[in-house]
């Protein structure tokens, strides 16, 4: 099972089950079953295409927002986190140790749109103490993948 995840995790181009089976010396049906189990148990939580939006005509602005939050009795941070991640603009949300509590990633079409979302939706929430918004200027690497990777195979064609 971990071997399957290891291959899925590093495979940039999507992997077919037959190929995983061949790489691990397993039957395809077994790989299929294990992947279905992993999906059912939420170990594999989803599949996503990583897109470099800078290379498209689409305007995409990403911001990281630090939130300081008052935890609620009996709920801790989970309740407020849920209120936040339900917004489709929120692309990731982490509970952090250190100077602030929640790290939110927001995606929008313009800086104004993102700033307004913070001002109108996040900041007024009851338990939010403060927000700090940082806009992303350039993405170098995401999910282990370098965006402008020009590493080519420069080896000789044949060496002994």
């Amino acid at each position: 099972m971990n071997d399957i995840l290891r291959i899925l995790d590093k495979e940039k181009n999507g992997v077919v089950r037959a190929k995983i089976a061949q790489m691990l010396g397993l039957e395809e049906a077994q790989v299929d079953k294990e992947i279905k189990d992993l999906e059912k148990n939420n170990v594999i939580v989803g599949y996503k295409t990583l897109i470099n939006w800078d290379k498209t005509d689409c305007e995409v602005v990403t911001a990281l927002i630090e939130l300081r939050v008052t935890p609620q009795r009996g709920e801790g941070f989970d309740k407020i986190a849920e209120r936040i991640y339900k917004y489709p603009q929120v692309t990731s949300l982490y509970l952090m140790s250190g100077a602030y509590d929640l790290a939110v990633t927001i995606q929008g079409r313009t800086m104004k749109e993102v700033a307004l979302f913070v001002a109108q939706k996040l900041a007024p929430m009851d338990s939010i103490i403060s927000t700090a918004t940082h806009f992303v200027l350039k993405k170098y690497k995401e999910e282990g993948i370098v965006f402008e990777d020009d590493e080519k195979d420069t080896r000789q064609v044949i060496t002994l």
């Binding site: 290891r6 190929k19 790489m23 010396g25 080896r155 000789q156 064609v157 044949i158 060496t159 002994l160």
Partner: protein, 394 residues
């Protein structure tokens, strides 16, 4: 006009050019050819190692080191070998840091062979042992290993070739090109034949960290009574994906390492300093990187073996290095012909088994130090080629 044919060294002049140069040149010039022909990792050197090299340059560590190598590196090499293989060496007298494993092999052969001495060379194997033996004035005696023996050296084969002129046995395991390995029990059996003789051993263990079975690699020097007659050659190229850094080492009895250090001192001075600093980082902090690469090679190994078997070729299961050595006898072609036509017709470059000794006839060496996509595409083309000419054994 100078007649160079008369002037030059005849032994070297008469050596065959490495492998089959012409075929390589054709392959190198062919555009959009895909290759399974490379004998080095596709991974870049792990970043932390590259960074250690960069730091050493920033700190202006740009001078010669001690002839035998940086003391800190030699100590790290000893610690690594103790940790991995349970063999202890004295960093002061029993280690020599060389320019790749190849230099260590050359120096070892030169330090023990007197004219007329016989050197036992296991084939198929890497191409350098025979010419280096000849250059040292020795007589190469070939021992041919077989697919049905999993390309292992059998004790009976060794016993048969021993004479009172035998000086040295070269043990090339895990093996390039076959991927064959020797288990601890296999090595014990070889040791048993050598006990009571004065035959020395050069154990080329450059692929030692790339083993895919549970048992893992055993250093020949770890076998009871073998350390005092064995020089182990190892290095950074394959294990840490550092081929271009040119760094290897030899471990062995102080007397032999002392002689090899003389050869190294006069011919080389010292191994590249930047590479030596980077290598300390490799030995100290990169077990995880090596394990990740090994895992990935293993996935590709199973993938490619499966692929060759699925197209009806017999393919020995390699348990070491990063090569497969499928048998192509069923196509009715020689290794050379198979490789030349495969290159012309399907634009796939693989290496004829005969590049590694006459007994490699009927086999091809394919490297799996490539992405699975690349391997997949090569397999598709090879299958089409094999089908076209009929699998005559079927």
């Amino acid at each position: 006009m100078i007649d160079f044919d008369k002037l030059v060294n005849h032994t070297i002049d008469n050596l065959p050019p490495s492998g089959i140069r012409k075929f390589f040149d054709v392959a190198a010039e062919m555009e959009d050819a895909i290759s399974l022909g490379v004998g080095e990792p596709d991974f870049a050197t792990p970043w932390t190692i590259r960074e250690a090299g960069i730091y050493s340059l920033e700190k202006a560590q740009t001078h010669y080191t001690a002839n035998a190598g940086l003391m800190e590196l030699r100590e790290a090499i000893c610690a690594y070998n103790k940790r991995k293989y349970g063999v202890e060496y004295d960093a002061r007298t029993e280690v020599l840091v060389t320019v790749g494993g190849s230099e260590a092999i050359d120096a070892m052969i030169r330090c023990v062979v007197n004219p007329g001495d016989e050197v036992l060379i296991v084939e198929p194997s890497f191409v350098c042992y025979k010419p280096l033996t000849e250059m040292a004035g020795g007589v190469p005696v070939i021992i041919e290993t077989k697919e049905e023996d999993n390309f292992r050296l059998l004790p009976g084969q060794l016993r048969e070739k021993l004479t009172d002129k035998t000086k040295l046995l070269i043990l090339p395991y895990p093996n390039n090109p076959t991927g064959g390995v020797m288990s601890k029990a296999d090595l014990e059996a070889i040791a048993e034949v050598l006990r009571g003789t004065d035959v020395l051993v050069l154990s080329d263990e450059i692929y030692g960290e790339l083993r895919y079975d549970k048992e893992g690699h055993t250093a020949f020097s770890a076998i009871d009574g073998m350390k005092e007659r064995t020089v182990v050659v190892n290095g950074f190229s394959k294990t840490f994906a550092m081929t271009g850094w040119r760094l290897g080492y030899a471990l062995g009895p102080a007397k032999l390492i002392g002689l090899m250090t003389k050869v190294h001192q006069y011919g080389i001075m010292s191994a590249p300093t930047t590479a030596q600093y980077a290598a300390i980082e490799a030995l100290s902090n990169c077990d995880r990187d090596v394990e990740d690469m090994r895992c990935e090679y293993n996935d590709r190994r199973r993938y490619i073996v499966d692929g060759f078997r699925a197209m009806g070729l017999s393919c020995f299961e390699p348990l070491g290095a990063f090569y497969v050595f499928p048998c192509i006898k069923s196509t009715g072609m020689s290794s050379q012909e198979f490789c030349e036509r495969l290159l012309q017709e399907e634009k796939v470059a693989v290496v004829p088994g005969t590049a590694f000794g006459d007994c490699g006839e009927g086999f091809i060496r394919c490297s799996y130090a490539y992405s699975v996509e690349n391997i997949h595409e090569a397999l598709v083309r090879i299958e089409r080629f094999v089908k076209k000419y009929g699998n005559k054994a079927q």
